[in-house]
């Protein structure tokens, strides 16, 4: 049912764009170099290094750059160099006609959650939730390398250790998710997937603990949690608290919020704004197994 764009081979071209926040061009140098080392050509879009206030260009400029990458048949994957905020300001103006005929991988996380959800819900297209250009600065660690595996058609298999809040079980279903703030932001819009039967993964950064609770409650009250097959809880880094503390950690709040449901859940999965951020193929079927000793997530190409 879900359409899978062709996996990349050596010599293929990857386009680099900034559909949201501003990023200095030199911050993509390491990324361009490593992608080259992997055997890919890189085209750097006009939005990389361009700036309009907070954004990497006006809505029109960012849209035009992304559109050009989507329409160019030479480009086999689009790597979003940075998130921030701004993808949802242009998403309704994207023309998907050429992309539907000639699908390609769209890569990124954080604000790019907008694209992942929209691609899944409106186009039935798989995409890759993975480290972006900034992550390449530390060289080819296992997280950056997992992106290479994801776009070249390897099986993705991640095994992590147990967490006290985990709930055991084995399920399979399409993997969907991303940044919790962006999932909340999409709720009520046409880009939001139903999440029925899905394995949902969430992560966030720099949020107030009460807001993490509120966003999860929002998803729950919108019926987005009750029919999940499973849930993967990634990093909730740099959380903030109010003057009167909420008295619980992010993981405690999340565990409370899903306590009424019986689906398996795994905490502390390496998907986050920290460097612990493995590549995940959104939309593809995965098996998710939570045992007392360990957690495995597997997805065939």
């Amino acid at each position: 049912m879900i359409q899978v764009p062709p996996y990349l081979r050596k010599g293929d071209t990857i386009g680099l764009v900034c559909p949201a926040g501003f990023m200095a061009k030199e911050k993509t140098d390491a990324c361009v170099e490593i992608l080259g080392k992997w055997g890919f050509k890189v085209i750097i879009g006009k939005s990389v290094g361009s700036q309009y206030h907070y954004f990497s260009g006006t809505d029109e400029e960012r849209l035009a750059d992304l559109q050009e990458m989507l329409d160019n048949p030479e480009i086999k994957a689009i790597l979003c160099a940075r998130g921030g905020y701004g993808t949802s300001r242009i998403i309704d103006d994207i023309n998907w006609k050429a992309f539907r005929k000639n699908p390609k991988w769209i890569i990124g996380y954080s604000d790019i959650t907008v694209l992942h959800c929209h691609l899944f819900q409106k186009l039935g297209m798989a995409s890759v939730h993975a480290p972006m250009a900034g992550a390449f600065a530390d060289g080819e660690d296992e997280f950056v390398l997992s992106l290479k595996k994801a776009i070249t058609g390897n099986e993705l298999s991640y095994t992590i250790e147990n967490h006290a809040f985990n709930r055991t079980g084995e399920v399979s279903g399409p993997l969907i998710g991303g940044n919790l703030s962006l999932l909340a932001h999409l709720t009520g819009t046409p880009s939001m997937p139903s999440l029925k039967g899905a394995i949902l993964f969430v992560e966030d950064v720099g949020e107030y603990l009460y807001n993490i609770d509120r966003m999860l409650l929002q998803l729950d009250r919108a019926g987005k949690l009750k029919n999940l097959a499973g849930m993967i809880i990634g990093g909730f880094t740099d959380c903030k608290d109010t003057i009167t503390p909420i008295g619980k950690t992010a993981y405690e709040l999340i565990a409370d919020r899903i306590s009424g449901y019986s689906f398996p859940a795994a905490f502390n999965f390496p998907v986050s704004h920290d460097k612990f951020n493995v590549a995940l193929r959104v939309g593809l079927n995965h098996t998710f197994k939570v045992e007392h000793t360990q957690v495995t997530l597997k997805g065939k190409p």
Binding site: Y54, S88, A184, L186, T187, T189, G223, T242
Partner: protein, 361 residues
């Protein structure tokens, strides 16, 4: 099966129509969306105070009690006052039970909430609204209480009051409190305020809804989601980043909540956060106006309500006229406005003009 569902749905609708025959006058609203108005308060009536989110202490409750007493009302204090469970005034169950007690108490004609913070939507689904639907009473609050405003408006069409809460009452009665007293007592609301450059002129009429933008947003796609069609939407917020406000408004826009408004009233967007946001140099007014610029309805910035002084009372769920012109903005209940009278700026029971900049609390 379908037919039975239909009849079941028709049942309460029929009852509502019978209970409030006057509602047919609201021609641009489906009749089913309008519940009965809560009765206005008379001297000697009881006002309940409870905390569905953050708590207030006994001293704050005492100030409110004195003020309400001055207006001729008696007070019933809930047991969540002074109670603490982390950042909440008790557990979700305790806060729901305290609210439920006052909601079902026939002596209590209005409930003024203690304060906002966060927590109303954590206990809201535990509330049984059956008694309230039959004999509604005024629910008063703002900020986190927007969850109640949205839920009650969407599900029951019963008016509520967006106003200062018990925790904000001081020893001196100011215009925010006077406006609440007038709202509770049934004095038709008429407010005039100074126009701002990004206003869009025009005249409209519709039911006033809204509240805190973050909470309107948090209700999206739930059973409490605000229906904004043909409504005058009021929004305010505090301590948010500009990009977050932009993102929340994009959610409302992309879900069709801004395209069919009768009008938009923007209250205070105060204590905006800026750290790490040096490049977001677009003004809050520009951010808001950008989301509605393609539509034609009137837009009025700078209404004195929200996390600021003054925070004038607004009756949500009731019909209002909004007039935005070059030299004045007016919002008024249809029975409150005599267009022939020369009128000063500000709340019409207050002599001092409201021209000061909002002061964050």
């Amino acid at each position: 099966m379908l037919r039975r569902n239909f009849l079941q749905r028709l049942g309460p609708l029929g009852a509502t129509l019978a209970a409030a025959p006057g509602l047919v006058a609201f021609t641009n609203e489906p009749a089913a969306k309008r519940g009965p108005n809560p009765p206005y308060l008379k001297p000697g009536d009881y006002v309940g105070i409870t905390c569905p989110a953050g708590t207030i202490d006994q001293k704050e409750a005492r100030y409110a009690e004195v003020m309400l007493g001055r207006w001729g009302f008696k007070t019933k204090l809930g047991n969540t006052i002074g109670k603490n469970w982390n950042q909440f005034a008790g557990t979700d169950e305790e806060r729901a039970a305290d609210f439920q007690r006052l909601l079902d108490d026939p002596m209590v004609k209005a409930i003024i909430f203690g304060r906002g913070g966060y927590g109303t939507m954590r206990m809201m689904d535990m509330v049984n609204w059956e008694g309230f639907k039959k004999s509604p009473k005024w629910l008063v609050g703002y900020s986190d209480i927007t969850a109640f405003h949205c839920h009650v408006n969407r599900n029951f069409g019963i008016p509520t009051i967006h106003a200062r809460m018990a925790g904000g009452f001081g020893t001196i009665e100011d215009e925010s409190e006077i406006s609440l007293r007038d709202a509770l007592s049934g004095k038709p609301e008429v407010y005039r305020w100074r126009p701002l450059p990004l206003n869009r002129q025009g005249h409209c009429e519709g039911i006033l809804v809204g509240g805190n933008l973050s909470l309107i947003y948090a209700m999206q796609a739930s059973s409490s989601e605000l229906d904004t069609t043909n409504k005058i939407l009021f929004i305010e917020d505090v301590s948010e980043y500009k990009y977050t406000v932009d993102r929340m408004l994009m959610n409302l826009k992309r879900s069709g909540k801004l395209s069919k408004l009768a009008g938009l009233i923007v209250g205070g967007f105060t204590a905006t956060k800026a750290e790490g946001e040096g490049y977001f140099t677009i003004s809050m007014e520009e951010i808001i106006f950008e989301k509605v610029k393609e539509y034609g309805y009137p837009v009025a910035f700078g209404f004195p309500a929200g996390h600021q002084r003054p925070n004038l009372a607004l009756k949500f769920g009731m019909q209002f006229q909004l007039n935005v012109s070059n030299d004045i903005c007016v919002i008024a209940e249809p029975n409150g406005l005599n267009p022939m009278l020369p009128i000063p700026f500000g709340h019409d029971s207050i002599t001092a003009p409201i021209d000061s900049l909002p002061i964050p609390l």
